[in-house]
Every structure is written in C-alpha cells, then in structure tokens.
C-alpha cells in the first residue's frame, strides 16, 4: 500500500535524533490519534543548517518526518515555510488517502519548530502562524 519511497524512508529514516541546543524545536500531534512528531532545527544566518526528528506514529508518519527534514535542510527560513504537506507528499510519490493527514503533521511540525525559533530570538517570521499547542498527556509517564 506504500510507495517504494515511503518504504525506504520508513525502513531507513534520515535525520532521526535530537539536536543539542537546537535553534527551534516543535512538537505536534497527540497520543490519542497515534501520531506525534518532534522536529529540531539548527538555524544559522537565516539558513536551516540541520534538521532532526523523533516521531511516534505509523509508517507514513515516520516517512513524512524523514522526508520533511530532508527537504528543509539547507533552505532559508522563507523557503522552509514553503514546505507544505503537498511538497512532502509529492517527494514521497504519494500516500494512501487515509494517511494524507500524516503529511499535514510534518508541515505543522516544521512550522512549530520555526515558531519556537522566532520566539526564542524575538523575531517575526512573515507568514508564520502560531502552532496548535501540543497536547502532552502527563499521565503518560505517571501510569504504572
């Protein structure tokens, strides 16, 4: 049901991990629907120098995270904003209809990380909206 590219990015995901002292970190999604994406960006001179991610989710969620971080590396902040779910989808040769929402999450995670960067540095990035806050469920670590 997944394209070869999706399978490749799921089995061999690029940019998995964290960035120490990242310029911006964004987490989106929630455990209820089973998808959480966290994107770390390292930004220098308005250029995204590095991107890493961690994702809890299905094969499509992992693959879109991997592809989105690949696409954003080396881009200017303005170009990074143009990485839409459509761009991620196309780069992966498409996703099954039920999985398209996963690519939306990738776009949101990138923007959330950029938002975090703009807040930390007190700058305004034109065209960037405040992301929906990540619903962290505290009981997650308290159970058992």
């Amino acid at each position: 049901m997944y394209t070869e590219k999706v399978m490749d990015h799921f089995m061999n995901p690029r940019n998995v991990g964290e960035i120490e002292g990242a310029s911006g970190v964004g987490t989106v999604g929630n455990p209820k629907c089973g998808d959480i994406m966290r994107v770390y960006l390292k930004i220098k001179n308005s250029i995204v120098e590095d991107a890493k991610f961690k994702t809890f989710g299905c094969g499509a969620a992992v693959a879109t995270s991997s592809m989105a971080t690949e696409l954003v590396k080396g881009k200017s902040i303005q170009d990074a904003l143009k990485i839409t779910n459509k761009a991620v989808l196309e780069a992966l040769d498409g996703l099954p209809p039920a999985k398209v929402h996963c690519s939306l999450l990738a776009e949101e995670a990138l923007q959330a990380a950029l938002w975090d960067y703009s807040k930390k540095n007190n700058i305004v990035i034109e065209g960037l909206k405040e992301p929906v806050p990540y619903e962290h469920e505290e009981e997650l670590v308290e159970q058992e």
């Binding site: 994702t55 809890f56 670590v141």
Partner: protein, 396 residues
C-alpha cells in the same frame, strides 16, 4: 509471501483434506440441492452431511443448524431476526463493549430502529461481570448477545453462567463463537446457548460460508427472502462446496482439538514469555488463563502498532494490530480502550494468533526479530525520549 503467518484469527488457509472434500462439488456434483433429479441428490446429501458434522461438533440437533454466507451474516441474522420476532414494540438488548463489529454495528443499527441496547463494560482482563449483567436486565430485555471468546485479546467469557441467567429470566442468549469454535469444547446445551454464530475460514475452511445455530423453538424472522432453502428460513441456493468445506473443517478441528490445543498453548506461552522477558515496558492484554490457546496480544509502550507491523512484514512475519492506522479510523481498537488502555498504549498493540502450521522455530524467530524492531522505533519516539528524560529528572 510471509514465511511466518501469525494472523490466524484473521483467517486461515484451507487445509488439504478440506479442499479435497470440496473439489467434487464444483464440477462432478454441480446439481442444485433443491432440484429433484439424480444429479442434485448428491449435492443435497452433501449439504445434509455437513449439517450433521456441524451439529455434532456443537452438541446440537441437525435441524438447528442453518448455513449462511459468513460469521457476520450469522450475527446480523441472529440479532435483527430476534429483534423483529421478540421486540415488536421496541425492547431491550444487552451486549458487551468488546463485541466484534458484526454485533456492535448491528446493535447500533437496531438502536436507530427504536431498540434500547446496553453495552456492558469489561474489566481490565476483558471479562464481563455476571452481577452487572444481572443488574442490566429489564422486564423488556429479550436478547443477550455476548461473544464466547474475543477476537483481539482472546479472553473467554463465562458463557455458561450467562446462559443460565438468560434461561432463568426467559431471555434469548446469542453468542458470537467465530473465534472460539474449534479451539474449545462447545456444547450448546451444556453452555445454555440459544443461538451461536460461526464461520468456516477461521478453522481452515473456505471463506464465504458460516453457520448459525438456532435452538428449536426460537422464532427468528428471515433475513434473506426467496426460496425455501434452509427450511424456509434462509433463502438462496446453497454454497454446496463451501458448506461441504465447513462440515469437513469443523469435523477435523474438533477431533484434533485436544492435541492441537496442547501444542498451541505451549507455543503461546513460549511466545509470551520470550517477548515479555526480552522487551521492557510491555503489557500482555487479555486474561492470563481464560484465553484462546493461540492468542498473544501485547502493547509495547512508546511505539505505534502499524510501524511494528510493517517492520515485521519486512522480516516475513505477518501479524496484526489494534492501532488506528491499521483500521483506517482515527481511534484505536475499541476492545483495548474498553479494557482501560490509554490511547497511546492501545496504538502500540500487536496481536499474534497462532495456528496449526506454526512451529517453535516460528515463535523463536519472532522472539529474535521483534526486540530490535521495538528498540529502533523507541529510539525514534518522542514519547520514549520524554519518558527517559522525566525518569532522569526523577533521579536527581
């Protein structure tokens, strides 16, 4: 093709003896059982022979067995047929929160037609409580439908007690036994069952055929209208090869049950112990003992089920999951939520269902392959990252 198939609760291959029994009824004996001439006699005889085989396996009378198109049809017929016959001015049905969708969605349909339905909760092992069932009974309750064994977590319900209570209160008791047939002894009289649904393709028989046991004396409205087949209660030309396959499959699995169950339970325990000791933050879902011999259902914290399944598939292992992503909906399995799992744990569940063709080597390979998959996915998981960092804060 997967070299290790551990999704036998989804479906099973048709076994050789069953296929061989079916083959003559595609070509040589093609007659319509309703016809009078000699060509049809063999077909008619074959259908009646299969009916006897099913009846014998369930401790029923032959005239109490009706062939259907699948387990889902049997469930639909039992519920809507009883509702029409016994709940003419509305009425009340009791079922459980963890039924298969064939029962749940039929109950929801009946609600839309003016019937009242109580969905009994289950405990953390997936068991309903007889006390709660008793409390739920009202004067207008005409039907109780509780599954014999659950398809996801394998928990076996106290069906005998449910049946007894239903009988005392003069309420019809239906059970969905699609997963239980062939894996535990079933005698409809001993268990006080009035209606029982089953399917052929879960017991090494063909797809497209099921049966409904209906106790003599139960009025059940027809669901399929047409000819006089199945004693005028289920119209439509019989699926003769399918019915023959069902009869042969249930005869074989019943005869081999005791021996086969021993093997399945030993494999199940090997797999449970192997996986639970190799992988931390894992929870076995379903009752520890009151459980189908071939069912293993484990939630792995911090990871999502579909990504586990794809990774297993890559290694040639076929299993299933209660994650939303595998069902096409946004919610994870209603069964796992009903036993009290939080969403993220329900999303991280994997079900392995063992069958007659699984070996110890299969179990060992899964025990070898799964831990590194979970480890890789956890390294990728922000939930695991948060859990670990919260843990280290706690130590400071």
């Amino acid at each position: 093709m997967n070299k290790i198939y551990m999704d036998n609760a989804a479906t099973t291959p048709v076994r050789k003896e069953v296929l061989e029994a079916m083959l003559p009824y595609f070509g040589e004996y093609y007659g319509n059982p309703s016809s009078l001439y000699q060509t049809a006699a063999a077909s008619k005889k074959a259908v009646e022979n299969a009916r006897e085989q099913v009846a014998k396996a369930l401790g029923a009378k032959t005239e109490e067995i009706y062939f259907t198109g699948c387990g889902t049809e049997s469930d639909n017929w039992a519920l809507t047929g009883a509702a029409e016959a016994y709940g003419k001015n509305g009425g009340h049905i009791i079922t459980s929160a963890i039924e298969h969708h064939a029962v749940l969605h039929t109950c929801q349909y009946l609600e839309s037609r003016g019937y009242d339905v109580t969905y009994l909760p289950v405990d953390e092992d997936g068991l309903i409580s007889i006390e709660e069932l008793e409390k739920a009974i009202r004067p207008e309750t005409f039907l109780i439908s509780i599954m014999l064994a659950n398809n996801e977590i394998g928990t076996i319900q106290p069906v005998k007690e449910i049946g007894l209570l239903a009988r005392e209160r003069k309420i019809i008791f239906h059970t969905d036994a699609v997963q239980a047939v062939g894996h535990m002894p079933i005698d409809v009289n001993e268990l006080n069952i009035d209606m029982l649904s089953m399917s052929a393709h879960k017991i090494y028989g063909p797809k497209g055929v099921g049966a409904l046991y209906v106790r003599k004396g139960i009025r059940l409205k027809s669901f399929m209208h047409g000819g006089a087949q199945e004693r005028s209660r289920r119209a439509g030309t019989e699926n003769v090869p399918g019915v023959v396959g069902l009869g042969k499959a249930i005869e074989l699995i019943t005869a081999e049950m005791e021996e086969e169950n021993k093997k399945l339970i030993s494999l199940r325990e090997r797999l449970i112990e192997g996986l639970m000791s190799a992988i931390p933050y894992a929870r076995l879902n379903g009752h520890r003992e009151k459980r189908l011999p071939g069912n293993v259902n484990i939630s792995f914290e911090f990871v999502e089920g579909e990504s586990i399944l794809i990774s297993l598939d890559f290694k040639g292992i076929a299993a299933s999951s209660g994650s939303a992503c595998t069902s096409g909906s946004l919610d994870p399995s209603h069964v796992l939520l009903a036993i009290g799992l939080p969403h993220e744990k329900a999303h991280g569940s994997v079900r392995f269902t063992l069958g007659m063709y699984n070996t110890e080597e299969d179990a060992d390979e899964v025990i070898r392959e799964l831990p590194p998959i979970i480890e890789k996915l956890r390294k990728m998981s922000p939930l695991y990252e948060d859990f670990i960092s919260n843990q280290s804060y706690a130590h400071v």
